[in-house]
Amino acid sequence: MNRTLKDKATNFSFILPALIIFAFFYIYPFFYSFILSLTNYTMIGDFSFKESFVGLTNFKDIASDGDWWKSMYNGAFITFWALSFQNILALMLALSVCRIVRMNKFYRVVFFILPVLSEIVIGLLLRRLMLSEPAGRDVLNHIVNNLGLGFLAQDWISGERVRLITALVHCWKGFGWAFVIFLAGLSGIPEQLYEAARIDGANAWQSFRKITLPLLMPVITLIMIITIIGTMSAFGMILALNQGAGGETTVPIMMIYNHLGSDLAGLACAEGLVLGMVLVIVSFTMFFISKKVRKKYGVLPD
């Protein structure tokens, strides 16, 4: 008995440092944020829960705040494009690069350059290309006009399609991550399965549908969860690109950041928690859907 306890204590001591760090940097801030979300504390001066307690007022305000839900919609819109366009593009490129033997590494590096660059750098760079005269040089419109694609010329920064343009810029910046993870997932699929399928007379589409897709499902789930969390938390690039375009591209983190700077720390914490809860629910839903799909294809045992 003593021996078992000692073993358990030894085992526990190995994870203790990580647990302490996790508790200090994640669990404590989470609970502290929850406590702050119940107050109107401004982050200045000594914190008195009793004096600053406002109950669920901040959460009620969020529930009825149209601008907050619009920012969630904006985030969801960009996420939808990231989930569909960005990830499909990444998968297609990963499938192509996976089959290319020559210059394989070169493509990996090229496609991974953008994610490595700072969000702010990408935002500012594209702003310089897109901003119209007199503040900018209208570079992008000049390019499309010179290419004979004048019908595409438009107000890229604050026009009617600003939300879509922001989403596409986000996809352009982010597809490299998904590409690298897809590539890693594809290289983990045994080549023998494809050979067996070929012998059985399966064509490329059948191989993709019956082998690649089911075996890639854990990777797809991972990428989808990362995409959702990453896109809903996007902020720097959008701020640099168009400053939120009068609320048209304002995303939740922008609202939280603004409220923190306006002495509304309690409200900002409540918003952070609401966003966090939404992301947790979406992530778990994605996880369960993926589990069901894998079960359906027989990749996961019942």
Partner: protein
């Protein structure tokens, strides 16, 4: 191997613990935190001068950009590690929170002391400042913030917001460069004439930074309905759906419809607007007195002048947004409080203020220190009597209302919302926030 592991562990713990709190310097020096990147060298020069004259070392520490600086000050206050002197960025509510938390020294008693005035005469410290400038760091009796009455900071310069116009573009369009527009209609007409006669845009401003919209809306609101009615709106006695407010929001719709606004104006930063105006790409802009320094650095040839906001009504006076540009506060818990006060008193003397104003191209915080000012800055001094600022109002608008108002104005400019829709949205929020 065991010894190495132990050394590593002890070093790790030691480093972690020692890095938690910055070491306090035992050296007798004043530490000042600021965010004014453009004045870094000038402050250093002043610090060296003070050390030579008084023998006390002064160190100015720059933290940039301003939002990072603001967060640093809040964190330092919570960690009780504020420097001897610092500035606060933010609204009056932020300043009042610092005061109530006991972080800022009340300078009222020190302000009664005499400092060097003109030609070796003495003047009471308080009397040396422009009253409008000092007001921004003063809390009166029974203020709505619940702060004890007192003076809690030392302004180091004065700032105000005005319209600017490009005189060369005026000439090119056949307009009299010495005659600026007086009404909104005249302003729009002039901008259109300039657009027709040059490749320049009528008006540019950094409205992507919504505080500039807030300033403009406030000034036009005060001109349109008077200061008293404006303040009653903040109190919640007048709704934002009042016809006078709709009229104010409609000004922005009118500007949009007139076609004189620069493309992407709702997302342009102030820096971008300043650069475009300095390059002669726009006839008009709206900016602060600090822009004199900016324009000088961007273009030496720029021929421009300031003018008051175009009036929308002749019934009420046109107020000008302004007051203290930057102010410095003293840490109430500093062991060098008296030395810090002495330094700020020295900084407020005519000689140092003239030096600061001349070198930084800003208006001084004290009276009679305009000797070295450029003519364009001197032209602004006459406007000091018409200043207004949230720091001197009895009550400030809730930041959530300001946020929604600014965003609403951006939406009007982008053609996404009508003035009526914006007014209704703000009022709804106002009712929710105030619980009425």
């Amino acid at each position: 191997m065991k010894i190495i592991s132990k050394i590593c562990l002890i070093s790790f713990i030691g480093l972690t613990l020692t890095s938690c709190k910055p070491k306090e310097s035992k050296e007798n020096k004043l530490v000042i935190w600021h965010w004014m990147a453009d004045r870094k060298d000038i402050f250093t020069e002043l610090a060296e001068k003070y050390t030579q004259e008084v023998g006390l070392k002064v160190e100015f520490k720059l933290f940039f950009p301003p939002n990072i600086y603001a967060q640093k000050v809040i964190s330092a206050a919570r960690a009780k590690s504020l420097p001897d002197i610092f500035g606060i960025l933010g609204e009056r509510k932020t300043l009042s929170s610092f005061i109530k938390a006991g972080y800022i020294l009340d300078l009222s008693s020190y302000m009664k002391e005499d400092i060097d005035g003109q030609e070796k005469s003495k003047i009471r410290w308080k009397d040396s400042f422009y009253p409008q400038t000092l007001q921004t760091v003063t809390f009166n009796e029974n203020n709505t913030y619940g702060v004890n009455a007192g003076i809690y900071g030392v302004p180091i310069d004065t700032a105000l917001m005005q319209f600017v116009y490009n005189k060369d573009l005026f000439k090119k369009a056949g307009l009299d460069p010495e005659k600026s527009p007086e009404t909104l209609d005249q302003f729009i007409a002039f901008a259109k004439i300039i657009e027709e006669n040059s490749s320049a845009t009528g008006f540019i401003c950094g409205w992507g930074e919504s505080w500039l919209l807030n300033v403009l809306a406030t000034e036009w609101a005060m001109n349109s309905m008077g200061e008293a009615k404006f303040l009653k709106t903040i109190e919640g006695d007048i709704p934002y759906t009042d016809p006078d407010w709709i009229k104010v929001f409609s000004i922005f719709a009118k500007l949009k419809d007139s076609g004189i606004l620069a493309s992407n104006i709702a997302t342009i930063t102030n820096k971008e607007a300043e650069a475009a105006f300095a390059q002669g790409k726009a006839a008009f802009s709206f900016n602060g007195s600090w822009s004199v320094n900016v324009y000088e650095q961007l273009s030496e040839e720029l021929n421009y002048a300031f003018f008051s906001l175009p009036k929308v009504s002749s019934e009420y006076p046109m107020k000008i947004w302004g007051g203290a540009g930057s102010s410095l506060m003293i840490d109430a818990n500093s062991s060098k409080k008296d030395q810090a006060v002495k330094f700020l008193q020295w900084l407020s003397t005519k000689e140092q203020q003239e030096f600061l104003a001349k070198k930084t191209n800003n208006l001084p915080a004290i009276k009679n220190a305009d000797a070295g000012l450029s003519p364009i800055l001197k032209s602004l001094l006459g406007n000091l009597k018409n200043l207004t600022h949230p720091d001197v109002w009895p009550k400030n608008e809730d930041p959530r209302i300001i946020e929604i108002r600014n965003r609403g104005l951006q939406q009007i400019i982008m053609g996404l919302k009508t003035p009526e829709e914006v007014a209704e949205k703000i009022q709804k929020k106002k009712e929710k926030v105030s619980g009425k």
